[in-house]
């Protein structure tokens, strides 16, 4: 007989492939509902990459939470089931799995600079269809919307041109086609 392990619990499973999924979670807009969702992620050790939440149907008191999370396929399935188990949660849709979703993010990017740098920043912003929403003689604030990787790329380009700070909303997602989330 081999010497028993000293832990009370089975060894941690070997690393599996991690995937990133975008989940749309339709919830009752009541106090504490966000705390329940976030508490679930914190308590069970799931990752949150991005989180957006806002009321979407005022009359029905419904809010939509969009969460981008990473995990193995089994963990992602667990997350969806655990979310679905919360009493104020109406519906959980895995936007990545349906493959028919549109994802967008908005960012505001502040850049400080003079002379040629300033001109270059403005030129790139134009190429990325970012709008100028604030300007001083030595700075710009750009507003840019798009997929996250487009924003990542824009921010990277601004870095040598005097990037000061970035504020991003996180991802909002919606399914293509005529069907809505709450129609069930």
């Amino acid at each position: 007989m081999n010497a028993p392990t000293t832990s009370h619990y089975p060894a941690a499973p070997t690393a599996q492939k991690q995937e990133s999924h975008t989940l749309s979670v339709l919830v009752d807009n009541e106090p504490g509902v966000l705390a329940r969702v976030i508490g679930l992620f914190a308590g069970r050790g799931y990752n949150i990459e991005s989180l957006t939440v806002s009321e979407t149907e005022h009359a029905k008191h419904l809010s939509l939470i969009t969460i981008v999370t990473t995990g193995t396929p089994m963990v992602i399935e667990q997350i969806k089931n655990q979310l679905d188990r919360l009493v104020p949660v109406h519906r959980v849709v895995d936007m990545t799995l349906t493959g028919r979703s549109i994802e967008r993010e908005l960012a505001m990017v502040k850049v400080k600079g003079k002379g040629e740098q300033r001109v270059e920043a403005l030129r790139l912003a134009d190429a990325f269809r970012a709008r100028v929403i604030d300007a001083t003689t030595e700075s710009f604030v750009f507003e840019i919307t798009g997929k996250s990787d487009k924003i990542d790329q824009f921010v990277e380009l601004m870095l040598p041109l005097g990037l000061v700070e970035v504020s991003r909303t996180g991802i909002a997602a919606i399914a293509r086609g005529p069907e809505g989330m709450s129609a069930r």
């Binding site: 028993p4 392990t5 000293t6 089975p10 060894a11 308590g43 089994m74 089931n81 949660v89 109406h90």
Partner: protein
């Protein structure tokens, strides 16, 4: 029909309308209006415990032995925080509890007022759902919703936190009615296509087995009856988790005993070697599976559970069925009866022959010799002397709990109350208070360890106050036995802090509480002492002094596979037929 009344009156009225007969609680500043409402009525009897943890455990015992919702009333701050262990215990074991907590008045919430705590924040992860009621208009709906959520789907504890000003406020009460909640809809019927797939798998099985759990008990008596019918129809062997004991009668020849870390050799070996596993209302807990990558490697797995998040959590299954056990079992029985194909008798016979070989190892064997009582012998005698009675068993947590599960034969559901998921020492005594209250004429025994029982010993006072003749049968080995066992096996025999230097004299302690004390130290005196315990019409503390060195076997060391069990000395000596290869496996 609607009536105007105060929030406090609504609480009691809602309990009465939900057919609550007993309420376990402890008063305090923030629930005084509700205690005033209790004073003015007779439909709900309040049971005064000695500590809020005891209130929740008592409500759990009440709920588990009756299938009804257990109710608790505690005050704000320390009242609520003391209840947290019980709430977590109820969540882990899926026990329906409604716990009403008092809260400081709404205008003081967040001000660090006296006896204020963030009850909904603290209890969020340890309840199925919780509420803070800030408007009197919401109170009747929330109270009835709480009962609905606690008792349906996968049952669990629900907390309703009521500020003191809401208890005083007047509002319009409404009776329970249809539940309009749109987000909460537990699914009862299983997907019939999946059930057909499952029955097809079962019909073609060569080495099948049933692995059942607490879900069958929670689903009600009908589920246990249907399970018995299906097991008889199929002729398959059956094992169960700690939580599922009693759903299938232990006296039946198809019963293999409990499985898992301290399960029988036959149950664990059969799990390891089976080709079709039918899991009903169990959740592949780490105490059951052992090493995951070696868990039942060659098997197709069917999993029936009402909670979708239990499926594919630890173990990937082949046929997941989301639904209530009774509903799914009913479909399975029907499909099996009408199905043309059934397993080959010869193949199934070979499987049973293999199981009988494992059984012949007598993995639970022990030697009762000499002048000292073996704990297994004590449980066995207790079983023999109480089996023909209307008897309910609760336990604390540790070695005595495992011996009770191994040696006490449960024939019916709802007779076995133990803290399985959370493993709460101190669960058994208060739990037996709740059981005895629900079943005043029955024999209720808490099989205890001397360390566990001291954690909630004060509830003996509750038992005496309400004349509840519970029997606390302490297997006293002066150690935290399971801790000592792990230290012996895994930590080089360094018994760090697991020995109790100064234990009370339990007989005198019983007398101090106005209960009856018995001490038994010799195997020859045991039967007479147990009979005395049964006959005394009072709470009894039974100090059964047992062998302090005894370990609980068989045992799968954690992180090991089912076929890597350690057997006790007595079992090993019986295995003359075992090959060298077989010995390596043990």
């Amino acid at each position: 029909m609607t009536e105007e009344m105060t929030g406090a009156e609504m609480v009691i009225r809602a309990l009465a309308d939900q057919n609550v007969r007993h309420l376990f609680g402890y008063p305090g500043g923030a629930v005084l209006p509700i205690y005033d409402a209790i004073f003015a009525q007779n439909s709900v009897q309040h049971v005064l415990v000695r500590h809020e943890q005891g209130a929740v455990h008592a409500a759990e015992g009440y709920a588990r032995s009756t299938g009804k919702v257990g109710c608790v009333l505690v005050t704000s701050g320390p009242g609520a925080t003391n209840a947290v262990t019980g709430l977590t215990d109820a969540l882990c074991d899926s026990i329906p509890i409604v716990c009403i907590t008092g809260q400081v008045p709404t205008h003081l919430i967040g001000n660090d007022a006296f006896q204020e705590c963030d009850t909904v924040g603290i209890t969020r992860p340890c309840t199925k759902h919780n509420y803070l009621v800030k408007r009197i208009e919401d109170l009747p709906r929330v109270l009835h919703e709480a009962f609905h959520i606690a008792s349906t789907g996968r049952p669990g504890p629900v907390v309703v936190d009521i500020p003191k000003d809401i208890q005083f406020a007047k509002g319009v009460y409404s009776k329970p009615k249809d539940f309009p909640h749109t987000g909460y809809k537990p699914r009862l019927k299983g997907d019939i296509e999946k059930i057909k797939q499952a029955v097809e798998l079962m019909a073609n099985a060569k080495r099948p087995l049933f692995y059942t759990g607490g879900g069958v008990i929670n689903s009600g008596k009908a589920a246990s009856d249907l399970l018995r019918e299906l097991v008889k129809l199929t002729g398959f062997p059956i094992t169960s988790t700690l939580m599922g004991l009693g759903a299938f009668p232990a006296a039946d020849p198809q019963w293999m005993g409990m499985l898992g870390m301290h399960g029988t050799l036959e149950a664990n070996m059969a799990m390891h070697d089976c080709d079709v596993m039918i899991c009903i209302g169990a959740r592949f807990d780490d105490r059951i599976t052992g090493r995951l990558d070696a868990f039942a490697p060659g098997s197709k797995k069917i999993h029936v559970d009402i909670d979708a998040s239990s499926i594919n959590k630890n173990v990937k299954v082949d046929v997941p069925i989301i639904g209530d056990c009774a509903h799914v079992l009913e479909d399975m029985v029907r499909l099996w009866r009408t199905g043309a194909k059934h397993p080959d008798k010869k193949t199934l016979g070979d499987w049973w022959k293999q199981i009988d070989k494992w059984r012949a190892r007598k993995s639970l064997a022990y030697r009762q010799s000499g002048d000292i009582i073996k704990p297994q012998y004590a449980i066995q005698r207790l079983y023999e002397l109480t089996k023909d009675r209307d008897c309910y068993i609760t336990t604390e947590v540790g070695q005595h709990q495992m011996w009770a599960a191994q040696f006490y034969g449960f024939q019916e559901p709802n007779r076995w109350m133990t803290s399985g998921g959370l493993g709460t020492m101190g669960y058994g005594l208060p739990s037996s208070v709740g059981v005895q209250l629900a079943h005043p004429k029955s024999l209720v025994i808490d099989i205890a360890g001397e360390a566990s029982v001291l954690m909630t010993m004060q509830e003996l006072s509750t038992a005496v106050q309400y004349r509840l003749p519970i029997k606390i049968f302490i297997l006293n080995n002066r150690y935290m036995g399971m801790v000592r066992q792990w230290q012996e096996l895994l930590h080089g025999g360094r018994y760090s802090e697991s020995y109790s230097e100064a234990l009370p004299d339990f007989v005198k302690l019983a007398e101090a509480y106005h209960a009856h004390g018995i001490r038994c130290e010799k195997p020859g005196d045991l039967d007479r002492a147990i009979k005395e315990m049964i006959d005394v019409d009072k709470p009894v503390l039974f100090d059964c002094v047992v062998d302090p060195k005894e370990n609980c076997f068989p045992m799968i060391p954690s992180g090991r596979a089912h076929n890597e069990m350690i057997l006790g000395d007595a079992a090993e000596s019986l295995d003359s037929a075992i090959t060298e290869q077989g010995k390596v496996m043990v």
